[in-house]
Amino acid sequence: MSYNINDKGYYGEFGGAYIPEMLYPNVEELRQNYLKIMAKPSFKEEFDQLLKDYVGRPSPLYFAKRLSDKYNTRIYLKREDLNHTGAHKVNNTIGQILMAQRLGKSRIIAETGAGQHGVATATVCALMGMECIVYMGEIDIARQAPNVARMKMLGAQVRPALSGSRTLKDATNEAIRDWINNPVDTHYIIGSVVGPHPYPDMVARFQAIVSEEIQWQLKEKEGTSKPDYVVACVGGGSNAAGAFYHYLDDTDVKLIAVEAAGKGVHSGESAATSALGREGIIHGSKTLLMQTNDGQITEPYSISAGLDYPGVGPMHAHLYASGRAEFISITDDEAMVAGLELSKLEGIIPAIESSHAFAVLDQKTFKTDDVVVINLSGRGDKDLQNYIDYFKL
């Protein structure tokens, strides 16, 4: 069984391109060209050079000694938090801006929830001198003011999504509507492994640098490229897709996907899609999503804006349905405690998204000689106010 995408754009039964005809020419143009463009030596060269000199890759694989001692196992952190702009998101936006240039596009649109992907997109648009419009839910604009300011400083225009719940899901709808209205000159940089094929595959390939580096870094440190476990948080699922990518078909390596349970999986305020979702269509993809019996998409909740999405990428839906990955739900409280613990034990303040992955250490017992790689997808600067409010710091 393969856990990667097939030639029709599906992971198992999940994926595809469930899009209105108005989007077909854009999506089809991308589908026909993305692999060819990515395979060109000149593309690879520019992508690799920017990842090295601009993003600061390779990101370190750090042996977390004090954390390992506490949990009596061998824990490595993949330091995506040290990337330029503070998270893994920039790996994808660098790739997609180069893609957009080669497709002859002059205008970039993106959606953002917490603002991390918006900032990463605004950053690469500034770098390349391209027009940038970021859609963001009106409510998120209010609660993520520093990132809104960053995007503006980088020259992007931030447009509020005023429909529906006025959060990430609605920002994504607005970006898709913009793309319908601007079918010729615009490229839509989706921020996660979601959306119609080929987006989930393209974004996963750009993020795959994470597991590519883990392989050779671990070989240097442990003498093997294979950890026993790779652990990553999942909202849409781009950092997990990157951390899992080169291990997908290597079943010796166990994969753990960590979802946000919010105030409890069954509290009514949760974003644990695998536990609460059913198969359906969201943003052009057949996948697992949280919905009413009637097929209306419901509002998720998590303290972490980056995990606050009612669906999950089709790759992850397949990893869940096939049993290839273990899915664990972590509440707000568990994540916050884990974030504080990492700060005190290792001197690293994680993004609250990443804190969810660390909370697994309390939920699951690893063997003393297990090698556990946790993807530290982002740094906690953006979440400082949340940590302050939560811990009354």
Binding site: G16, A17, Y18, I19, P20, E21, M22, Y24, P25, S163, G164, K169, D170, N173, I176, R177, I180, N181, N182, P183, V184, R278, E279, G280, I281, I282, H283, G284, Q291, N293, D294, G295, Q296, I297, T298
Partner: protein, 254 residues
């Protein structure tokens, strides 16, 4: 013969009206349909509301959201429509996004449509290849016409393919836009209308998106068989009683 095919044979330009079921009030669905028929409308698209209507502009989005708040659902809509064929004889089409239909069960949905007397479906986010592989036989079993969209960006090859698998009409989206965003047609649109007319497709075309008054209706139907009005009608419903629907229709047709 399917009512849609019968209607398409009439020697006139057709006016089709779209509205979101359950808006302005939950139980307006049937009175709106009856008033539209009495006013001389040729065909009706009943919108099944969805939480995330990707192809729709602010007017239809807002009416969908309001309809859902009012309590509209697939079951409620089917219940409202159960006796519709006792009073209404023009073609009725249900237009909705794929997820609610998928959750109801595509076959159960199609069967229910046939029981009620629905003639066709428009599902903008159901891809053509998925329809052909998985659902075409079901639609045919229950006598439903599936209507596909084309846009100014759709390639000639794809238009010919869509024409080959259609058996009613082709929904011709007037411009690259979501619903309700255009005001008037320019040379570019007219050239597109003419270009499609010259393709001599086997299925007639009905133009939608950007039609709001007599002028745009006349322009759209100069080369096409008919036109569809959605957002402009929903705006009218927001500000007027259902009894005034005939005024809206009269203004479009004259």
């Amino acid at each position: 013969m399917n009512k849609i095919n019968q209607k398409l044979q009439e020697d006139k330009k057709l006016l089709s009206i779209y509205f979101s079921a359950g808006y302005p009030s939950l139980n307006d669905t049937v009175p709106i349909i009856e008033n539209l028929e009495k006013s001389g409308v040729d065909m009706i698209e009943i919108g099944l509301p969805f939480s995330d209507p990707l192809a729709d502009g602010p007017t239809i989005q807002a009416s969908s959201t309001e309809a859902l708040k009012n309590g509209m659902s697939t079951n409620v809509l089917f219940d409202q429509l159960k006796d519709i064929r006792k009073t209404v004889s023009i073609p009725l089409i249900v237009m909705g996004y794929f997820n609610p239909i998928l959750q109801y069960g595509v076959e159960a949905f199609c069967k229910k449509c046939q029981d009620i007397g629905i003639d066709g479906l428009i599902i903008p986010d159901l891809p053509i290849d998925v329809y052909n592989d998985q659902y075409k036989a079901i639609f045919e079993t229950y006598g439903l016409i599936n209507v596909f969209l084309i846009t100014p960006q759709t390639s000639v090859e794809r238009i010919n393919f869509i024409d080959s698998i259609s058996n009613g009409f082709i929904y011709m989206v007037s411009s690259a836009s979501v619903t309700g965003s255009s005001s008037g047609f320019g040379d570019e649109q007219t050239a597109y209308f003419k270009r499609i007319a010259n393709m001599k497709l086997k299925n007639p075309q009905i133009v939608g998106f950007g039609i709001s008054n007599n002028e745009t209706f006349t322009q759209a139907t100069q080369y096409a068989k008919g036109a569809i009005i959605g957002s402009a009608f929903i705006k009218f419903l927001t500000n007027n009683n259902l009894e005034k629907i005939d005024e809206f229709v009269t203004n479009i047709l004259n």
